[in-house]
Amino acid sequence: MSTATATHDDHHDHGPAKGLMRWVTTTNHKDIGTLYLLLALVNFFIGGAMAMVIRAELFQPGMQIVDPQFFNSMTTVHALVMIFGAVMPAFTGLANWLIPMMIGAPDMALPRLNNFSFWILPFAFTLLLSTFFMNGGGPAAGWTIYPPLVLQMGDGFPFMIFAIHLAGISSIMGSINVVVTILNMRAPGMTLMKMPLFVWTWLITAYLLIATMPVLAGAVTMLLTDKFAATSFFSAAGGGDPVMYQHIFWFFGHPEVYILILPAFGVVSAIVPTFARKPLFGYSSMVYATASIAFLSFIVWAHHMFTVGMPVVGELFFMYATMMIAVPTGVKVFNWVSTMWKGSMTFETPMLFAIGFIIMFTIGGFSGLMLAIAPSDFQYHDTYFVVAHFHYVLVTGAIYSIMAATYYWLPKWTGNMYDEKLGKMHFWLSTVSVNVLFFPQHFLGLAGMPRRIPDYAVQFADWNMISSIGGFVFGVSQLLFAYVVIKTIRGGEKATDQVWEGAHGLEWTLPSPPPYHTFTEAPQVK
């Protein structure tokens, strides 16, 4: 933070290069942010199309459209694409666009590495999706790729493993960049406890990624050697244990869940104060709550495995540790609500998505508490109740926050206002349909419908049909989102620099759209 200015390898200031190579060779955080967001949007529709196949097959009992193997690969790859291809790159895109502008930095700390982190991803997803065209088809053992089932996969197996390796390398390098940018590139006066919460939540998210992605890499490497190099990590005959995989995987997997939601907390903490026209309630408690959630995420993993046959001591430890997470999460929800309390609120689209987030994420949090109760989990485990739970926190949680962020910052990025009417229409269509889609899945799960199954008993028929109808409407509604985004990029009413009357922070002091290089002279933060 000692220096106030930035320079480039050329002596004159320059804009972007021309043509396609601009995007391939770029080291500019705004370009790379845009690339991440576009990749996320594309993957959102690829993963969404797979969800449509799932809901179409489940529209009625009996086998109608796809064979069971393909159905299972749809659920598997839908999850992998949405987690690693849509939500994570979307948040990384937001981080790239926003963190340098929020902390007054000229760019990310390691710009070439930043380009590398992005450009690995299209190759990783090419590898993953190419498995559909190989002998044996795509991965179909669920996104958690448990052995021994996943070891039965055909020729696509090593391609899937390497896709995960590449995506992991991308995440680790991207996260190192985020941490170093935040710790080393802040403008003079931007102390840690003055940083916007989006920056704080990303700092902690990046730490989680650096700590856990290598563990996933280790786990999938063991799968690879178990299949091809005669190792016995997950085979009891050789003294290993398939449950060991689950422990290692979920040591990564649970922090991963918070990787998918902490930046969402940061987004909502930026939007709610703007439209309530009040400063965020309990800023420092938000920071400490985020850190507490991150810490707890490392000691709760086995709540994903309550029915696997753990010692009772383990069940109890992981049950109580999991329930403790409700405390810092409750602090956050309380603070958002208190921020709105007596605020002079308006309800533009970003605020609608943020409020939708708070309500529906909380529903997902409560069903998570139910799942945390080990004895009850024996009833819910691997049922549609779990599916309902994590879609409430990931769709109406993580994805709602990404949409809120898009509507909120798109005018800043493009210089054009989005179409408010269409934005509101998108929100209401999504919110009604997403609840029709996922709420009935709670009932299905409690009644005993297992997840990852292409056919079901007729008693589940009604709610499945309703859920599928909700799914189709939600899917179509997202085309409207893509339309609004493209329309805003192409033109529209000019946005002011501050864009929102109640917006505070360094990024709103820049022109809309911001010039190619910003804060080459670091601002003074008071």
């Binding site: 220096t3 590495l113 290598p214």
Partner: protein, 286 residues
């Protein structure tokens, strides 16, 4: 050294990252095809690895040139240092996964296979009675002998610990601006690292030929070779990095107060050293 810029250096466009992505993509396609039994896979893998080497020459070369031109100020240097620290942390966590597998097997799953307070193993494999080292109730890979700690592994421990001393002596020499001693102690570190690798290779040959201890020797063989193998791979990377900075030190690239590359490599070397101590204790001795 040219004068150092006051500004944070933001490079403008680079083709090396996309070369790196294509190289990795080529390499893993080759490896995957090789695993699937296609003979072309090996060639594609080596092509990918060659591209990786080409990319590293180019990318690091660019960075070295920029550094020598004085483009990097103190803040850029700090970015590199912090980046390296976090990278090493991620490597620690990669090893943590394999150590976790070792501990899980030794403390939990193998005792469970032996029955513990359950009676299931009486019905499944009542004859299975070995605790550790074991290749499981299936005697996977056939009878084997485990690797002792006090032969080559103990010597290797001494070698790596000494190399930690020599690289520190080199660093002190660098800070005292004594180029000859810097290079000399670096070369000694390289020699110790290379000797370690040679002994490790000899140990592997011994394991395969005389102990019937292979990667396929159940959970003991799996954890033994994966842990020591990944460690050896990291020592190899570290030795290559040491050779590079030895050559750079000989060329006079480093000054007493500006030598991130040296320190980054030294940190990495200490990291592989510490991992080895963990290996020596938990894989060989206990």
């Amino acid at each position: 050294m040219a004068h150092t810029s006051d500004h944070y250096y933001v490079p403008h466009g680079s083709h090396w990252p996309i070369v790196a992505s294509v190289a990795l993509f080529t390499g893993v396609i080759g490896a995957a095809n090789w695993f699937n039994g296609h003979s072309a896979g090996q060639m594609i893998l080596f092509l990918g690895l060659a591209l990786v080497a080409f990319m590293m020459f180019g990318w690091f070369g660019t960075v070295i040139n920029e550094s020598l031109k004085g483009a990097y100020n103190e803040q850029v240097d700090r970015s590199f240092r912090q980046g390296m620290m976090w990278f090493i942390f991620s490597e620690v966590m990669f090893f943590a996964a394999f150590f976790g597998a070792l501990f899980y097997a030794r403390v939990l799953s193998v005792p469970w296979l032996l029955g513990g307070d359950l009676s299931t193993h009486e019905f499944l494999w009542s004859s299975f009675g070995e605790n550790w080292p074991t290749n499981g109730p299936g005697n996977v890979g056939g009878d084997f002998e485990s690797m002792g700690a006090w032969g080559i592994p103990a010597i290797n421990t001494l070698l790596l610990l000494s190399s930690g001393v020599t690289i520190t002596l080199s660093h002190w020499a660098l800070k005292a601006n004594d180029q000859a001693k810097t290079v000399l102690w670096l070369a000694a570190t390289v020699a110790l690292g290379a000797t370690f690798l040679a002994l490790q290779a000899y140990e592997y040959i011994h394991a395969y030929h005389e102990l019937n201890l292979t990667l396929g020797s159940g959970i003991y063989g799996s954890t033994f070779f994966m842990l020591t193998g990944f460690h050896g791979f990291h020592v190899t990377i570290g030795t290559v990095m040491l050779i590079v900075i030895t050559l750079r030190a000989a060329k006079g690239h480093f000054s007493p107060d500006h030598h991130f590359a040296f320190e980054g490599v030294a940190w990495y070397w200490h990291f592989v050293d510490v991992v080895w101590l963990g290996l020596f204790i938990f894989v060989y001795v206990l």
